[in-house]
Amino acid sequence: MPRIGVVVCWCGHNIAGTVDVTQVTAAAAAMPGVVYAEDYKYVCSEPGQDLIRRAIADKRLDAVVVAACSPSMHEATFRQAAAAAGLNPYRVEIANVREQCSWVHRDREEATVKAVALVQAMVAKARREEPLEALRLPVTRRALVIGGGIAGMQAAMDIADAGYQVLLVEREPNLGGRMAQLSETFPTLDCASCILTPRTAEVARHPRIELLTYSEVREVAGYVGDFRVRIARKPAYVDWDRCIGCMLCQEKCPRKVPSPFERDMGFKKAIGVNFPQAVPNRPVIDREHCTYFEKGKCQVCVRVCPVEAVDFEQRETVREEAVGAIVVATGFDVLAPAEFGEYGYGRYPDVIDSLAFERLNSSSGPTGGVIRRPSDGRVPREVVFIQCVGSRDPDRGRGYCSKICCMYTAKHAMLYRHKVPDGQAYVFYMDVRAGGKGYEEFVQRTVEQAGALYLRGRVARVYPEGDRMLVRGVDTLSGQTVEVAADLVVLATAAVPRGDARELAQLLKVGTDAHGFYNEAHPKLRPVETMTRGIFLAGAVQAPRDISETVAQASGAASKVLALFSQEELVADPLVAVVDETRCAGCFLCRPVCPYQAISTRVAGNREVATVNPGLCQGCGACAVACRSGAMALKGFTDEQILAEVEALCLRTGSPG
């Protein structure tokens, strides 16, 4: 019988306050196979880990059970400690007596009885454990970055500068992402395109970055170190290799349509680029609005193109690429404020969202950087900014704070005052959240120097009064309801995930939160990693962030990729399925239930049996349940182990009543 050691953690008062740790330790000592049982104040501390290491050596332990906090907290810590003492790290089990016992129960006796049972279950499991060897996998030293905004570009540059190949995939025809739409940036007021344009050019000409714009990731297979990705390049109906970027086609195209890039306040042509500094500077045809695609005639672009680059027959092309790591940097969207009918967005042209206000400020925007309101082109004398439209609103919007709005609204109020010196800005806010270097100071300047009137409260309704918009709100500080007749109303709408964020997450097998933002592996300690090894996050795909945080995170993600690429081979969790070929009947019921196509057929002697690719297997165990003959086992969670746990948990010894 294996020699098992049990260490019971007090976690200070957290466990010991509710669970009688002495009693648990005494009970553990009497369990079959247990040759050592001890309790300690903080087992995760250095002396605590040392206790484990010494026990392994002194008592010649084959397995260790730690009764402590959730395995999601310190399983890795204790496994490392065990490994340091020469024990196979997969022979460490955690009995979760904190999150699932001491923190949720009050009665000391009941909690103690339960803690004993949980330890007993883990001891039973540990008895049936085999030492497992971590898997070793080769690594393809080439990264895929999805998203060509500021986050994706930063990550791509950092990886490429370190000497590795990068494939940068962007859905739009050009680089730049959300940031390309912005005018100036807080808190320095340097212009967004002044920062962005040199960066896009740098990325485009980097010898180790291959740029795939107007492309989308369609399939992701494989695993860390060896992903197989299918990427579709949408038809631009222009041969970019021939095109010289003269934009004569755009100039001459007779079809004008509202430009989504300009938040529908300006127009674009049915062929052309989103904005003048676009990189790559190559046009695409908007098939939905092109007269030729609608009616079969026009072809003005074909006639004016000096290099015969227009190609109406172009089709989508798909290529397969092998990469070792993936950085997801697909960014965010803004909430369509349709839910907030009381503000009249969509009904009244002079109620716009903040992204539209960015375009009004942008010198390449629809008004050439002069702030004019959409309805009649007048320069607004009074502008009301409404914050938290859809943010911090679990009832009709999103419960979270969108984080960036306080700062960009302050920036908007400041820019507005710079451009319209006799104008007055009003800002309805609930709290000003300006945590960041130079942020609070910036907001104060908006108040003191730009003269913006900050009104603490929400707006209930916005409706027209003559040719102005009447804003009815409250100033909770004075306890008065207030009305402002504004020329323009700007809604700071919630930052939300991209509409198809969940679909991409499913392709990548990355988890999302309730809203559709991608989940990091650990909110504090692994903020740029995902639960899927080899896939990393950068920027607002994970949660709303501003530019400086996004860039920092992108560099963080890049450094994780580089750490991966610096290894000769990768080490993977051995908790995978394995086939006992002598028992496998070759029915292959296991194959359709495997979500990773990890099971294939192998000829063993004169018959076919199932075999598992341990690099693809993620250890879900679906095959083990599907198997009729009991040939398929999931290492670390075998039937014997789970049944042993069940039996231990059902024991009534010492239970009250």
């Binding site: 911090r392 679990p394 009832d395 409260g457 209930a460 309704r461 409250v474 909770t476």
Partner: protein
Amino acid sequence: MRLTRSQLRSELLARVEEIGGEAVAHCYQCGNCSAGCPLAGEMNVLPHRVVRLLQLGQVESALSANAIWLCAACQACAARCPRGVDLSRIMEALRVVQLRRSTIEPPGLTPDTLARAPQQAIVSLYRKYGS
């Protein structure tokens, strides 16, 4: 005002929350209720401040606010509250608490109003005063 633990956890406050079925802690004082209240102009304490008084444990002050009798239960506040608080239920709870302690005279109506007003409105008005 002096804030005390016993006021913050008073039975009276608990009763208001129980009768109303709403927890005052859910309110984060954005003021949207006051901003859209059609009767805010007549109230000596705005609706969001009634909730604030409750959060501070000042139930008696809340009970003496005329807002609780002016509230027409139009639910504009409830429909727009980002925190999902139905303020009209809190107002009702305050009225109920007050009415169960003492009789409140409903406002007198002129004979002309009584003769011409729709029953629906008259019944609603007297309902509010517990009749």
